[in-house]
Subunit: 236 residues, 2 copies
Amino acid sequence: MKDDAKSRKDRLRDHLKVSILTLSLRPGADLDEADLSDAFGLSRTPLREVFRQLAGEGYLDLRTNRSARVSEMSYTTLRDFFLAAPMIYGAILRLAALNATPAQIADLKAAQETFKAALRSGSGADRALANNRFHEVTGEMSGNVYLLPSFNRLLIDHARIGMTFYRPQGAQMSENLSVASQQHEAIIAAIEARDDAAAAQLAEDHWNLSRDQIELFVMPDALDVPMGAPPRSKPA
Amino acid sequence: MKDDAKSRKDRLRDHLKVSILTLSLRPGADLDEADLSDAFGLSRTPLREVFRQLAGEGYLDLRTNRSARVSEMSYTTLRDFFLAAPMIYGAILRLAALNATPAQIADLKAAQETFKAALRSGSGADRALANNRFHEVTGEMSGNVYLLPSFNRLLIDHARIGMTFYRPQGAQMSENLSVASQQHEAIIAAIEARDDAAAAQLAEDHWNLSRDQIELFVMPDALDVPMGAPPRSKPA
DNA sequence: TGATTTTTTTCTGTATACAAGTTGTATTTA
DNA sequence: TAAATACAACTTGTATACAGAAAAAAATCA
């Protein structure tokens, strides 16, 4: 049971989280208990406990007598996401500035270094995971148990939305990512200075950047699309 | 396995939820797997799955190789609660007004009837549970998967805080409960009228009433506290 | 051939047995 | 007596076997 500090259960949990966040496991995908049981050397009992926990965190959907599924992403969820994200992100960053500990600030800087490395040489998945980790740390900093469940739920789908819409390697996107990185630095500075107003403002800016990037791909070149528009066209 | 529509698992889940919300199971209380297993005629495997789910919803805390515990309520959580509740409640009620279906409005009216019945003849626990159900329905109405996790987490502790601070049967409290009931009616009206601005305002009013009631017992007779001024003074 | 029913197979849900870990108690030692 | 250690009782974690439900495949009938 004590494998090497990290139990097989933890490894399975991490594997599923990463696979889901990077869309390696697609929304709606079925998970086979027997396969995973084999692959991770775990019996079905602990495996199903991991499923239940991940379902609670919003990674999976469980239906009785049916296989576990990666939680869905629909048009509706995107709309709900746009509605909830600015509010929660602002509140979390404001609280992060007020409550961050030195150890957490060190974590945040480390996360930002990883993010910058991923920008230089990493894959889209690496970027998404590193960005996800950065924001997870801000959540830990806020330390508010009532806001965290929603915040973490948002982060899951933000990563997945990012994987969807940040994929094409346009010049506009490189520029956006560079700005995002600068905003991360500014966020770190605001938190270190305990400047909660600045942190809240940066949350808004950071969100707007992300939102614009998403809209760029949801509404390609947003110009007079006829009727029955093509699913997606690549912007310049 | 198919007992009578409601499985033994569901019954256990409901029992634990009610016990925790009404403080019949106190924050920090240890849960014995063998006892519950006996009492509900369930083996430990499904029982532990229920534990994991309830932990995900914020009812329980799980620690490896130690017994499951009812989630704690500390001074800190109360502070975090006061911070997060107004924001989330407002957003939920606003969305509820915009998205409620006729069936959900019927549910809400039924919940309010139960609440009024509990006010007349019920115990403190009955009132807390009926009030909890009323607000749960507003959460369902909002239909926003990103806000619901935090909202439901807040509702758990709101019920528990209510059980703590609404206990003494003063005249002030009866008056407050009567006002709360009237606010519920107004909330129903605003939702039926799809008036989201009114719903948001009512959320604020309803929250303020609840907050004042809590403060009444946290700071009894809150008169000119000398040094270290009180965190907030009661509005007119 | 095509639709429908029956049978087979596969997968999920639960019970139970056992392994590993924790806590409390008794015993030893200084 | 106080601290430390060893032992015993108990509790949690995991594997496995089996029961029940859903899905897939085969067989039947029009």
